[in-house]
């Protein structure tokens, strides 16, 4: 009677928990986008009946929230930033990188308030970088303005990326060459400004355009911080 005779005990599947569920969902989404995430497929990936999931989440939306918060962990700054500008700059670029790794994030960004622990930690770190600099309202405006830009810019970038992938052509090539619809539209002569841009514009790296747009917005914030409006806020410890 050796090991080889004895059958392996039936490998009891690792006990279920939110972590495993979220990981499976993210794997599916990374592969095939958000629409590839179905509770049935997630459950199947975990060798479990679909209904089991409802012990850990109560709706599919909740699963999405968990996925988002899981990615916010990748967005957390690794070390305390030197100043507010570095903080916002880093936040923006890490959010962008995360969205390139997990394109589905672009579909969810800004879709609902992010209140998971990691998202809160990210906000905390960002706000902390403004400690003692200006009044509370200005800080709020600064953070929200930059976040809005970041959300919007990332969404556009991912949308263009997908469009390119779908047509096999880069954005500019496509317009130049013969995106049938747009070319026809431009040919009508009703869009002279647009036509000028399409014909004389040059291709720009997405990252570069993200970065310079971001710099502009950060400059704007800097300008406002120069003239503090009221009591500077201090974190009450």
């Amino acid at each position: 009677m050796t090991v080889w005779d004895r059958p392996e005990p039936p490998t009891r599947p690792a006990p279920l928990d939110r972590g495993r569920i979220v990981a499976a969902a993210i794997a599916l989404a990374d592969e095939g986008g958000l629409e590839a995430v179905s509770l049935r497929k997630v459950a199947a990936l975990l060798d479990v009946g679909p209904m089991r999931l409802y012990g850990y989440i109560s709706t599919k939306e909740e699963l999405f929230d968990l996925m988002v918060d899981h990615v916010y962990a990748e967005i957390l700054p690794e070390e305390r930033p030197g100043d507010w500008r570095e903080a916002l700059h880093g936040l923006a670029h890490r959010t962008r990188q995360a969205s390139l790794r997990h394109e589905w994030l672009a579909d969810l960004l800004g879709g609902r308030p992010a209140l998971g622990p990691n998202a809160l930690a990210v906000t905390e770190a960002t706000l902390a970088a403004f400690d003692g600099l200006t009044d509370l309202d200005t800080v709020m405006r600064a953070v929200e303005t930059v976040s809005a830009y970041v959300t919007g810019a990332i969404r556009r970038e991912i949308a263009n990326l997908r469009a390119e992938r779908a047509t096999g052509l880069s954005d500019r090539e496509w317009q130049h060459a013969s995106g049938p619809h747009v070319t026809r539209m431009l040919a009508t002569g009703r869009f002279p400004a647009l036509a000028t841009f399409v014909h004389e514009g040059t291709e720009v790296e997405p990252e570069a355009s993200f970065a310079t747009g971001l710099d502009w917005v950060l400059d704007a914030v800097a300008a406002k911080l120069d003239r503090p409006a009221g009591e500077p806020f201090r974190i009450t410890p």
Copy 2:
């Protein structure tokens, strides 16, 4: 034999066309959000079998694209703006207003490239306002930066609005009072900056915060326009 005896001829339903389909879809979405839009319901609203729609639309995504472009008609400026700043300012506020009238627009904004005729017309009008002002790249950066901000800000505003509606409390009230989860989080002491904001922050009108954020971004653009980088672009007529 009077009119009253003669039965009405069976009112042949108005012939189908994209316009009617899109209008029906928008009606449904205005009422119950994007998820209330199903091809079957749209078809039912038009007294038609679901498959009829595929003569006019080849996929549900296409219907969404048409809906978006339909709303872009509401975003078109009514009169030629005085200068670029007025153009961008107006574009931003009209987009926001449209999103408040059609909340589902926030879910679609930035989700994919907007290439419908009305969207193109909006872009045309915007670009035209920069005629002769700076080089082409700067104009592009300006328009894209502002658009990104607008998309992001609107998405956040609508997301908060929905959250409020769902809980019956305004954002700040909610955090103050006892959004159970967040309050618990704050109580851990791990988020001192956030806690300061929640406790000492004052409620701000969404429109005001949208407007000031927008002004900041427009200021940033103005600063860049002051120092033109290269050949100013002229619309080639």
